[in-house]
Symmetry: C2
Subunit: 112 residues, 2 copies
Amino acid sequence: MTGLEAVKYNDDGLVPAIAQDKATGTVLMLAWMNEATLRETLETGRMVYWSRSRHERWAKGDTSGDIQKVVEARYDCDGDTLLFVVEQAGGGACHTGEFSCFFRAFGDDPAQ
Amino acid sequence: MTGLEAVKYNDDGLVPAIAQDKATGTVLMLAWMNEATLRETLETGRMVYWSRSRHERWAKGDTSGDIQKVVEARYDCDGDTLLFVVEQAGGGACHTGEFSCFFRAFGDDPAQ
């Protein structure tokens, strides 16, 4: 697919992938892909990441049901970051139950 | 500032920072910050990154005039990615002149 040749992976063979919710524009999460999971994501239309902690392929939603359907697949001017506009299924993207992983702001009272 | 203690830097002392345009919701770019430029960003309300290629502090807009004013400063559930909602000045975030660095999609005709 056009564009794959422009992607630059880091020393671990990974590239950061941002997922943004189509309906709300909310930035949901950032995770990582290797070339295989990027290709699988583009071919299947479903977000598949690479888990840096578990060192394994991670098809988003396999456990939680919160799958992400790809609407747009973009890459940046340097080819070293990916942006996917997605339809987020289920309650949200975050393992905490929040819709977005970015639910905390600097300066928030930690008791809140 | 609350939240700084939650930020996890990689082996190079860096954390990825996503900039999203306040007015349009467009994801503008991803760049990197070290602890010093993150603190400067939070204290000054203006996006300051760390250039991995030049190995130096990079106050966005110093050369181009396309500064980014911080509206919201967030961090994710793992503390290893930052999200800033910004007011993008000038023509846009990208050095190519595009508003967003993510102006190319996989599958686009490269002649376009």
